[in-house]
């Protein structure tokens, strides 16, 4: 029975190997699938470290360009460990972005129109009316902890200092609140 080599069924490492093997004659299907998968994850890394949606979208573009460029040029030593390479690229690019270095322009120049083909991954959007209802249904203290954590971006110890609670207590309340929100929003077991 022939082996299924469609990009969608390959793991990340196999996809990366395929992109690397294609070299200067790009395997468009493999590259598109690899970018689709990695783009979402790089965006999340960017949101966590850059705290800005536009900067995260920029990070996706820069890291995907760098990753493809390196795979095509045979510069990734272990394509099967592509996540490790992408993590390094993310860290370096975030540092550069914080220093104001614009690497993307140079990469765009090197790769031309092909580099502009990456589509920004569409983020999940929660229904705002439903979320508001679920937040309203939380006990006041749980709602306060959620608001301070996710609106004001505060860690448990900072939230605790504002609400006269210990950091450990905040984590317990936050855990309970997130559990209620997941159930209320219908996110279910997949998120746990």
């Amino acid at each position: 029975m022939p082996q299924d080599d469609r990009p969608a069924v390959l793991d990340d490492g196999a996809l990366a190997r395929r992109v690397a093997a294609a070299g200067a004659s790009p395997d468009a299907a493999a590259e598109a699938e690899l970018c689709r998968r990695l783009g979402r994850r790089i965006r999340l890394y960017g949101l966590r470290h850059l705290c800005d949606r536009h900067a995260a979208a920029d990070l996706v573009q820069q890291v995907l360009l760098l990753t493809l460029e390196s795979l095509r040029a045979g510069k990734v030593r272990e394509p099967e460990r592509i996540a490790s390479f992408v993590l390094g690229a993310c860290r370096m690019t975030v540092l550069e972005m914080r220093r104001g270095v614009r690497r993307r322009e140079a990469l765009l120049e090197a790769w031309g129109d092909r580099a502009q083909a990456f589509e920004a991954p569409e983020p999940i959007v929660l229904d705002p009316l439903r979320l508001a209802g679920c937040l309203e249904a939380l006990p006041e203290r749980e709602r306060s902890v959620v608001m301070l954590s996710f609106f004001a971006d505060k860690a448990a110890d900072e939230v605790g200092a504002e609400l006269a609670l210990s950091g450990g207590n905040v984590r317990v309340i936050r855990h309970r609140a997130l559990s209620r929100l997941r159930d209320c929003m219908g996110a279910g077991e997949a998120i746990r």
Binding site: D12, R37, L38, R40, R41, I42, L44, Y45, L47, R48, H49, R53, I82, A83, S84, V86, L87, C90, P123, I124, V125, L126, P128, L129, L131, A132, L135, E136, P139, E140, R141, R143, S144, V146, M147, L148, S149, F150, F151, A152, D153, K154, A155, A156, D157, E162, L163, A164, R171, R174, H175, L178, L181, R182, A187, A190, I191, R192
Partner: protein
């Protein structure tokens, strides 16, 4: 889409909120794993959703003073009222207000649990149990849903602050808001 070694949800939350150091193991796993990055995506959506809900004034809250500063830093336009116990205020919300903050002053030293009890016009009392408060500042900050408030005709709300302990309940302040549409 499964994962043989899923990241503990609490660890995921801690990483997302910057409580945990950005270590290689968790970050490489998240960049390699569709299952765990999918769970993280829900957290990211929640963060974005909570910000949107606050910005759009879709939820009522009892908040801390630093939270009000966070709202201000986020660019929200706030209308504030300050009341002492027994106080009354004519209040409103205008189209260009993003939120109304009511600062209720009260003697809160030694209070361990505080409830807010309020009634609109002649309606029944509604109790919000165990609200956050600043005992040192002697202040409770209420932020009603701006989206709801903007739809309301004239009405009057009586709000009581009630300290609760093993011995029972003690009212520490009563406040009247006379709302008229903006």
């Amino acid at each position: 889409m499964t994962c043989g070694k899923p990241i503990d949800f609490e660890a995921l939350v801690a990483w997302w909120l910057g409580e945990a150091p950005a270590g290689d193991a968790i970050e490489e796993h998240l960049l390699a794993c569709a299952h765990c990055s999918g769970r993280l995506e829900w957290l990211a959506a929640l963060s974005h959703g909570v910000r949107a809900v606050v910005r759009e004034g879709r939820v009522s809250m009892v908040v801390s003073a630093p939270f009000v500063e966070s709202m201000r830093r986020a660019g929200l336009r706030l209308r504030e009222y300050r009341l002492d116990p027994g106080g009354s205020v004519d209040c409103t919300i205008r189209a260009d207000d993003d939120a109304v903050v009511s600062r209720l002053r009260a003697p809160l030293a030694g209070v361990r649990r505080l409830d807010v009890v309020r009634a609109q016009d002649a309606g029944p009392e509604e109790r919000i149990a165990d609200v956050p408060f600043d005992a040192a500042a002697g202040e409770v900050l209420l932020v009603p849903s701006a989206a709801w408030l903007k739809t309301m005709p004239a009405f009057t709300t009586r709000t009581r602050l009630v300290a609760v302990d093993e011995a029972g309940e003690t009212q520490v302040g009563e406040y009247t808001f006379v709302h008229s549409p903006g």
